[in-house]
Symmetry: C2
């Protein structure tokens, strides 16, 4: 709890799904551990100058668990929020053990590092319970998707199952996370958007949903007073006319422009749109830096040399 | 970090599988949440006088995940240690949210409470990798067991699958856990015995095993300097001649007697034997209190009015 540590700014990094499973991969355990080294190496280097929180998605992993439990009726099925909790354990362990290893490689004798199970309050009347938007699990062809017993949407990875994705209201463990930041703990939390619960009086009950990890990360960044909010994904930053001949990468984006592009449908629902919304929300509410960048350019983006910066 | 808090003794409570799923239950989510209230209510009351660590088993839950992934070849299979990590997330969330609710009910405004993903180093040459002893998953009849593609053993819950269960050597997050205890955090950790890893130079790699949660709890109790180590299970304490006409409950047990009963095979492998070994190990190495008791009598046992105390 030295005074110099207290002065380090706080950096929150939200890792996209491709930090673990890249497009075209099936998602074996070897692939996932191998892929993690690229972002984690950069995060370890940044941890010398920042107090760091890492959050992460769980779309493919939670979809896998859902498929597995549907294939095995002899085991009682668990609700979706419990599967989110399972992915927090799984992915948290994978990130933590990779980070531990890389910190040791860097000669850092001991840096406190924890993975916290996190749950997040949502509103029982959230409109998303009637209109699911969050893609999870593997991509299917159109023909396969038509035979599935649940709703799907078309995404860049094929047709994917969709589930409700309510807005996060508050992170239950935010006070614990703040205390740990004061002591310069590296913290992995809010995995898979956090476990979604509604609060009724003094009771919490889980709900069948997956919260968007970028929106919960923006909220957490705000709740703990982060100085930089960095979203790491599979493209080098925000683009307009994505995939068209006049595609254009944006190095800076002010809130007004961002709002216009969002309204004109420039960004994919369930992919870039929630990232842009999350970055906007953080900048609007705190006046601090938000950056959207690629997994490969986390360090360069911190230095202002890559990614899209929201101003 | 007030001085009065520092003076509270440390109590480590290891919750047995029946804290979540009772004999004869299938293990629906409603059953698991309902069952948890009995031990958690007592732990919440004790948390006013103790700094508390909760550990827990995962036998049925990790067995369920294994069955589910075997039933679904389209999803890449994950190794056993990743399934342990998943159960740490699942059960940790269930205990934490139940405890949060009960603390609120008791009028406690804020008590820091975290669930930590924990991994535990084991020896790659541990003999248990050749001779599996840890029962997981559901119980089967003898006829069913004979048709299963993996080894089983007879237990009080029927024939169950067995996996390797190496001795825990050290808990990777022990320094973090100590720091959190200093700040009077309630801590849920080492779920399912902890995620088993072997250390090779600076790298950790997971291994296909489930560590006994009582043995890892004894080690953790020792590593963090616990004052009382309490194992809560489905019987009221240690018995000799269990299930026979001359069955006898033991209120106190000294190490020498315990060793004799253990050697003469009085205690079931994979059930009471590792509990007795864990309690003995803690008392032997620290000279402090260890108690084996039932889930229903945690508070009474702390007061010395129930359970078996090791002296």
């Amino acid at each position: 709890m030295g005074k110099t540590q207290r002065r380090k700014p706080i950096l929150l990094i939200a890792l996209g799904g491709n930090a673990l499973i890249k497009k075209g991969q099936r998602g074996t355990i070897e692939e996932q551990f191998y892929n993690l080294r690229l972002p984690v190496r950069q995060i370890a280097a940044l941890s010398e100058r920042y107090r760091i929180i890492i959050t992460h998605g769980n779309g493919p992993q939670v979809g896998h668990l859902l498929l597995q439990q549907e294939a095995c009726p002899e085991v009682p099925a668990l609700p979706l929020e419990i599967l989110v909790a399972q992915t927090e354990g799984q992915i948290g362990y994978m990130i933590e053990s990779t980070l531990d290893e890389i910190l040791m490689d860097m000669g850092i004798e001991f840096r406190p590092l924890v993975t916290l199970i996190t749950y997040v309050v949502v509103d029982r009347d959230d409109p998303s319970f009637c209109r699911p938007t969050k893609p999870i699990g593997p991509g299917y062809t159109r023909e396969e998707a038509e035979r599935l017993p649940y709703p799907t949407i078309a995404t860049s990875k094929g047709y994917r199952r969709v589930v409700a994705s309510p807005m996060p209201i508050t992170i239950v463990e935010k006070r614990e996370i703040k205390k740990l930041l004061e002591m310069d703990f590296l913290i992995i939390c809010c995995g898979g958007g956090g476990i979604p619960v509604i609060r009724e009086g003094r009771a919490f009950s889980g709900v069948d949903a997956v919260i968007d990890k970028d929106l919960v990360s923006a909220l957490l960044a705000e709740e703990v007073g982060a100085d930089i909010f960095l979203i790491a994904t599979d493209v080098s930053g925000v683009m307009i006319n994505f995939g068209k001949p006049d595609e254009k990468a944006l190095h800076q984006l002010d809130l007004e422009e961002a709002r216009q592009h969002l309204q004109s449908g420039q960004f994919g629902i369930g992919s870039m749109a929630p990232k842009v919304e999350a970055a906007m929300r953080f900048v609007e509410n705190t006046g601090k830096r938000a950056v959207i960048t690629s997994i490969a350019e986390i360090e360069k983006s911190e230095a202002g040399k890559a990614g899209t910066e929201f101003v």
